[in-house]
């Protein structure tokens, strides 16, 4: 699923909200082009890919650590998200060779911790591990990450920031890396 909702704040560039299991792509050479944003990531992980020569950026909002039952490119699953991103990024001028991209990731928190042990699986940790494994498998350098912990995050990815992402966590200074 490719996110299609765009919201423009007065005086600011537009944003494309990337919902759970969705992805969105954008180009750095579009002056008023949108930035990509994943609001309130809990256990999910935002994979942010950027390719410097083409200026193509893409964000996938990964929900689950495993593989799609049908094996198709799918941003929801860590095992299929890079293929989905590649498909979408190639369509707007990015290279097909994933090794030319650089990656930043954020998310994978354990927000809901039930006292006395709890029944919710630690999906966040597994999402992070799975995404890291896939990046290694695809030979994409991971240049920065802000993952784990117990707090949710919002991630902004402006293609004009040359691959860097902004991460907001409640009660903490905003990070840029």
């Amino acid at each position: 699923v490719i996110a299609a909702s765009a919201v423009r704040a007065p005086g600011a560039s537009s944003s494309i909200a990337v919902g759970l299991g969705e992805l969105a792509v954008a180009r750095a050479d579009t002056p008023d082009g949108p930035q990509l944003v994943a609001y309130g990531l809990g256990s999910c992980v935002a994979i942010c890919l950027f390719e410097a020569r083409s200026g193509v950026a893409g964000m996938a909002h990964v929900v689950l650590p495993g593989e799609s039952p049908h094996g198709e490119p799918n941003a929801r699953f860590a095992r299929n998200a890079l293929a989905a991103l590649r498909e979408a990024m190639v369509k707007i001028g990015g290279p097909a060779d994933l090794r030319r991209y650089q990656a930043r990731i954020a998310g994978g928190a354990q927000v809901l911790v039930i006292s006395g042990g709890g029944s919710l699986p630690r999906v966040g940790d597994r999402n992070v591990e799975s995404v890291r494994d896939e990046l290694v498998r695809a030979a994409i350098p991971l240049l920065g990450e802000h993952v784990g912990g117990g707090k949710g995050r919002t991630v902004w990815f402006n293609p004009r920031d040359l691959g860097r992402i902004r991460v907001r966590t409640v009660g903490r200074p905003e990070l840029v890396f």
């Binding site: 919902g19 309130g40 929900v63 689950l64 928190a109 006292s115 006395g116 409640v170």
Partner: protein
Amino acid sequence: MIDIRMAFPGTPGDSPSISTRLADLTPVVIAALDNAAAALSEMAGLRIAVSSTTLGLARIADMPVLAGGPEALALGVYFAFSGDDDGQGHLLLLMDDAGSQQVAALLLGEDAADVDVTASLPASALAEAGNVSCSAFLNALGDTTGLRLDITPPAVVQDMRGAILDALAADIATVAEEALVINTRFTLEQPEQLAQALDLRFLVVPTPSMLEQLLERAVPIGAVR
């Protein structure tokens, strides 16, 4: 007067039969929600009522924005519940940050300005509010449907609204593309200042297998099962 809505966005997964079958379940759910509001009223010494309820299928991607701005700070008291078979579900008492402080202050008999909802005592009080309301809801639902519904201990979390719902949606995503969301707003009749400011929501999200169990066993109120 309770505002009850059935919301079924035009996604490919919609099934007309679902809305038909929900007609029997809806009054059962409303009665259970009234039970939850009554239990919460008794515990808090306030008059709390159900003001609106929406029953609708929601895509996983949309869940984090179902209860307001995803970046807004909120406090959630979360429970998982399970049935006799493999059906499970999620219950969430969700309130805005300022409201949670005032509710905790009311429960503890303290000044809201002195209350830190992340401290153990206020968090325990809010957990108990969640416990009372969610247990009352499930007891009523279980009594009407004949299902034995077990509930986990509470998880109290203060975070972005979207992050709390993201964690819940991620669990649903392991088994479904979309899920029924029962999205309810509670209102207080007094004190007036809190009643106007408080955004108090009660969300129920059954997995598809739990929903199927509820639909199979739901009969109109007053009918003999």
